[in-house]
Subunit: 178 residues, 2 copies
DNA sequence: CCCTCTTTTGCACTTAGTTGCATAATGACC
DNA sequence: GGTCATTATGCAACTAAGTGCAAAAGAGGG
């Protein structure tokens, strides 16, 4: 149950309407927890129903922006959730599964797909590097920034892993039809 | 839609009953695509209905083992799927999200949780290393084994990443209450 | 004013995964 | 020959996420 907490986090940083949240999710938070606008609106309604957020006083008619802000109960819930025991989920990756299948039915056409993924991961890596240059330029960082930087580094490391692993695996894949 | 293909792969390696599949998923394939027995049985029925597998002739009464084997159509579908275009999913990790939330509500209690995760990832890493020692001992490998080894190495690298990243992040976390 | 385009919100449907529980066959124990 | 644990299969309900589509309100043009 992460989406509601992602939304609470975003709203604590800045009270927003559903659309603004959607836009902000497409950047920062969405890098490791993406969501569509439909999901976000649904979740906002639930969070309001449960008394964790509330809409700022504005005409609540359809098709008109509603700004939400987090209530004390919402902040408490987020604080609780941050320290909660949650086991890490095992790896769940279709690409590894496809490689495994390739050992049985042959790797025909797989090399192209690996190359395509390599390109996409290189792109994502470049984006994270760009963000790092822009948002975390030099030495001294406040505590809050240090944490944020660690989060970005996780993204950088994961993309780096994929780029290296795909490169090595491709180098070792039989020329074609294998 | 990966589960049916995971099952097809497992069945091609060796025709099995639902329970056997469940057991085998708890090892190898389950490392990167886990499934419960309920999911597996449901999926077996669908695959049979769709003509991709069929049950070997045995009394089909309830509570009695049914062995399945893959039909030509099933193998064809798996072959197609291996080379299909599928974009990599963006990272989706609750722990990173919680770290992000911690920058807003404080990191109270989070250090313990990170330490716990560190322990679990170390354990998983040790397991993969054990498997590597056992299944891929020395130099020369057949093509099929090379691929399998790459898959295992992906697991090794990912767990290594987590261990290193958690260690560094912990070192940088404010003593307590942050 | 009317028409149309954009913005903002949202419902309804579908898919995938999880949890809890049910039921039949089988072999072992007494 | 009864009952008890184990093996094997499976249904039903629920949760979480993803997709498709639409309706209300305002903005701007003619």
């Amino acid at each position: 149950m992460s989406l509601p907490h992602a939304i609470l986090t975003a709203l604590l940083e800045k009270p927003s309407s559903g659309l603004e949240l959607t836009r902000r999710f497409d950047k920062s938070i969405g890098f490791f927890w993406s969501a569509t606008h439909q999901q976000i609106y649904r979740e906002l309604n639930r969070l309001e129903r449960d008394g964790l957020i509330h809409a700022l006083p504005q005409p609540p008619s359809r098709g008109q922006r509603k700004e939400y802000e987090v209530l004390a109960a919402g902040r408490a819930e987020l604080t609780r959730w941050v320290a909660e025991n949650q086991d890490p989920k095992p790896i769940r990756d279709p690409l590894l599964l496809r490689l495994r299948a390739a050992t049985v039915v042959g790797s025909g056409g797989l090399a192209d797909e690996l190359r395509r993924h390599l390109g996409l991961h290189r792109q994502q890596l470049a984006l994270y590097e760009e963000i790092e240059r822009h948002d975390f330029p030099a030495e001294e960082e406040a505590d809050e920034n240090r944490l944020q930087h660690h989060i970005l580094r996780a993204g950088l490391s994961l993309e780096t892993f994929w780029v290296e692993w795909l490169t090595r695996t491709l180098a070792d894949l039989p020329p074609e039809g294998g």
